[in-house]
Point group: C2
Chain length 247, copies 2
């Protein structure tokens, strides 16, 4: 089954599934709508790792509040409506069903966990939350790098940085173009990132050409003044029927 | 201190430290010589993650034996001497002192762990061992991908693949050129890797130009017939005094 689903695929993040569920209900503003439609296996509801926890430092919380406050705005009449940004939920296992019970995958691997969410101890590894802005075709990620991500002594491993870039641009690519796979990642490391840092990843669309989506990503300090890493990514669209039905 | 050591560095793997220790005693054939010279803080000796454990499958073991048997060969006179390959030990924390008591770093972060060795459960995440061949200037890595490395359902995360490529080429770069930092990683994803797969990473020197070392890496099935990922990496040499003394 795995082979039939992924025949010809390069890479597709599990994050895509939460986005697909989210996109199928664009008016919903959180994970509640998704989990309410999930089978009992997932009840009461899967943990959403993109919500604040006790390990988040002041800088992480400040940026979270900054973007989260722009997810819902009040009209002049006092009614609430969607703002320019939307927070994306994040789970650590494959969501078998999307909203409405659409069957996404027959693969049930009870032990498998999303690479970026495979450690439950808050603050130890990847702490991050993504926000997307449809109008500006941008995606931002606030990322706090824990002590289990070490490469050079006291600094974040190049592979952990690549992992965050892949996750953020892959999610952005799926948001822009529907289901995609990563074709290429080209990463330039400019300056090392101390463990414990809070960082901003900004992903922006460069161009779309047929089935290809080109995205750029920068990893900077939270005020944008210090450039740590920059990358380009190429994603290739895959058909939804191929993804969902394995055909 | 961290800043003074890493001023101008991009990335340097902790793995480099084990290599530096290894290289300082080229006639030694394992981790024993290194750990015997370490201060009591590390005693009895740190766990070497590159040795076989119960999670290693038959394919992983077969390849391990294949390369390990070439690390020591018998002469016609019956004496044992170094073979063409050498196994590199792998630890999950910074080694403060190399063989002979050379002081490498003042940073002691008791909780920090190498990203690729941050999960102790055998077989759950990255299981791998590296062998280097000085004469051929090649490095091979046998890698078994555990269930906690998931990206696409049932398959290895692109970031986890990038992490292994960065680790293997970074180690190879250090072996070839002494202390280096990663400047660039350019990765092409050709076909997805099912979770649980055993893979071969082959790293080879392309060229050296001044302070730059260019390395290529392929991720294939263990018999080399299926290409999953290919990459080029650029490493920039850094001075040893800069590394060790922070000057």
């Amino acid at each position: 089954m795995a082979k039939s689903i992924f025949k010809g695929f390069h890479r597709l993040s599990s994050l895509s599934y939460s986005i697909m569920a989210q996109l199928s209900h664009p008016a919903s503003s959180g994970s509640a709508r998704i989990s309410s439609a999930l089978p009992a296996f997932f009840s009461p509801k899967p943990r959403d790792f993109s919500l604040p926890n006790s390990s988040w430092g002041p800088e992480m919380m400040r940026l979270y509040e900054h973007y989260n406050s722009q997810c819902e705005v009040e009209t002049e009449g006092g009614e609430k409506c969607n703002g320019p940004w939307r927070r994306l939920p994040s789970y650590n296992r494959v969501i078998k069903y999307a909203t409405g019970g659409v069957y996404l995958s027959k693969i049930i691997q009870s032990k498998a966990r999303l690479f970026t969410r495979n450690i439950r101890e808050p603050g130890a590894a990847f702490e991050y939350v993504l926000f997307v802005n449809s109008e500006e075709q941008k995606c931002v990620c606030i990322f706090q790098a824990g002590h289990l991500l070490e490469g050079p002594p006291g600094h974040v491993h190049g592979g952990a940085i690549a992992t965050m870039i892949d996750s953020v641009t892959g999610t952005h690519g799926t948001f822009l173009s529907g289901p995609v796979m990563t074709g290429n990642l080209n990463i330039n490391y400019r300056s090392p990132i101390p463990l414990g840092s809070t960082l901003l990843l900004e992903s922006s669309l460069d161009k779309k050409e047929g089935r290809k989506t080109f995205i750029s990503c920068k990893v900077t300090s939270t005020d944008g003044s210090k450039l740590h890493t920059e990358a380009t990514a190429l994603f290739v669209s895959i058909s939804v029927s191929h993804l969902i039905l394995g055909k």
